[in-house]
């Protein structure tokens, strides 16, 4: 049986915020789904099945949140499934939703990412931060790795610098400046502030060479997209955005610290390679109009350029220096402001980015709209305690 074409017909995004103190996760999911359904001109009765991206049980003190959200959305009796793959969860969820439609199992599928992260408390210290750290540390080996690293990002980046002698600290800082500048045009962004090179470089060292302003934000949010078959997609909207490539890859990036593998993000490479092959893309920098990727740190964004094939290995810093990845450059990367300035919480960011690229391709992204030339955009996500989870999505209008 051949695979059917799959369209994105509805987008719903809530702003990233440090905390939504007045909302439960069910309500955040509801708000994002309502916005996506309104965008598509559908109601919950039109949904055939739902895919939930909820990254962390410990942060929500709930291990079957998908069932509770499903009920809250009025979808009882319909198929539902939950996907959890670190900070890449919701792009993996998009892949599951894609498969659901492409295979013919469903006509219209809801993909929703939601995560609360601040409604926990450590009962010994009575600090939220301690409880959050404990929950987050469960994505790596809690006995061995966590006392020694700030997760894998610093490790991969410093290994990359040792191997390729790039990126420089200035190039990394420029990525943070770029993404913060982009976020100024995004009303949904969690942080609106322009940064200087000196300010970024002199801010707190989180894990050399990454400083505070080069690190992703951490908060709460929800986002949703509605996927539809070709036939239904064309009925629903005049501007369907097609998923033409999709891939995912599990590959631990921190255990293979030999000369060949150190400083690589093989998961990002693997997911992108699958997606490019499916979409027929052979020269990504010339065939894409924008990329939204997981800049969990600014240095990781630069390594991602290389793994996505936008430039040779070790040359990612040049794309920053030459302005290629600026909003007005040849290939804008993270015009939303990315995880560094738009905001981030695992479980949500991927589907937020899928919606973001769809809005750009529909030319409905407001002040942050980039120029659409080829009509193709890409989402690349990365996550997990070992930088080992990645999913990539190619969108086309």
């Amino acid at each position: 049986m051949g695979m059917r074409k799959v369209a994105i017909v509805g987008v719903g995004q809530l702003p990233f915020r440090t905390r939504y103190p007045e909302k439960m996760y069910t309500e955040l999911a509801f708000d994002a789904v309502k916005a996506a359904l309104e965008d598509a001109g559908l109601t919950h009765k039109d949904i055939d099945s739902a895919v939930y991206s909820v990254y962390c049980d410990a942060l929500m003190r709930q291990s079957t949140s998908d069932l509770i959200i499903h009920d809250y959305l009025g979808l009882n009796g319909k198929p539902g499934v939950r996907v959890a793959d670190g900070a890449a969860s919701s792009a993996y969820a998009t892949r599951v939703g894609y498969n659901e439609v492409a295979s013919g199992m469903s006509e219209i599928v809801l993909v929703v990412g939601v995560q609360k992260s601040q409604d926990v408390i450590d009962l010994q210290t009575m600090h939220r931060g301690d409880a959050i750290f404990q929950a987050e540390s469960q994505t790596a080996d809690v006995i061995w790795e966590n006392p020694f690293t700030i997760y894998p990002w610093g490790l991969v980046l410093s290994a990359h610098i040792a191997k390729y002698h790039t990126p420089t600290e200035e190039q990394i800082a420029k990525v943070a400046i770029k993404n913060h500048h982009n976020a100024m045009d995004n009303p949904n962004a969690q942080l609106h502030m322009e940064l200087s090179l000196e300010g970024v470089l002199n801010s707190r060292i989180i894990g050399w060479p990454t400083t505070m302003y080069e690190s992703c934000l951490y908060g709460e949010s929800a986002a949703a997209v509605i996927l539809a078959s070709e036939e239904r997609g064309k009925e629903i909207t005049e501007k369907p955005i097609w998923i033409t490539g999709i891939g995912s890859c599990h590959h631990n990036s921190t255990t293979e610290m030999n000369l060949e593998n150190a400083g690589r993000l093989w998961a990002v490479y693997g997911a992108a390679t699958q997606a490019y092959k499916m979409a027929g893309i052979s020269n990504s920098i010339h065939e894409l109009d924008l990329v939204e990727l997981n800049d969990l740190t600014a240095g990781i964004e630069i390594i991602s350029y290389e793994e996505l094939g936008l430039c040779p290995l070790g040359k990612g810093g040049r794309l920053v220096d030459e302005g290629t990845v600026e909003k007005t450059g040849q290939l804008p990367v993270n015009p939303s402001g990315g995880r560094i300035a738009n905001g981030h919480i695992a479980g949500v960011s991927g589907v937020h980015s899928v919606g973001e690229v769809a809005l750009h391709l529909r030319e409905e992204a407001g002040k942050r709209q980039v120029k659409i030339r080829s009509g193709r955009g890409m989402v690349s996500t990365l996550g997990g305690g070992y930088a080992g989870l990645s999913a990539a999505v190619i969108l086309e209008r």
């Binding site: 000196e198 002199n202 801010s203 707190r204 060292i205 050399w208 400083t211 505070m212």
Partner: protein, 112 residues
Amino acid sequence: MGELEEIYNIIPRYFVKERLSRGLGQWSTVVQFELDGEKAFYLVIDQGNFEIQQGIYPKPKTVVGGDITALRELLKGTIDVTHFIANGKLRLIRGDYFDLLNLSRAAYIVKR
């Protein structure tokens, strides 16, 4: 004006509770400074109120060594303390690293 004298002027002038954030307004500690070639002095921070004194405090919570120029730069609030720790210009001799992070955060806030 010498660097130590400058620090004695900066603390009471800028580091006042009203200018700090709510979290730092509840911060209490004593930080002893034993800087290279300088007379010892200490900071008493009580619920966000700063007081600078000459000499040795009997039981300081935190003791810091290093270069007085680095401390003066830190108190300007333009460079985070982690950079001075990383390049060895300031040293935590004993005590709580978070006292140094908080001092840097306070300097950044009062500068703004």
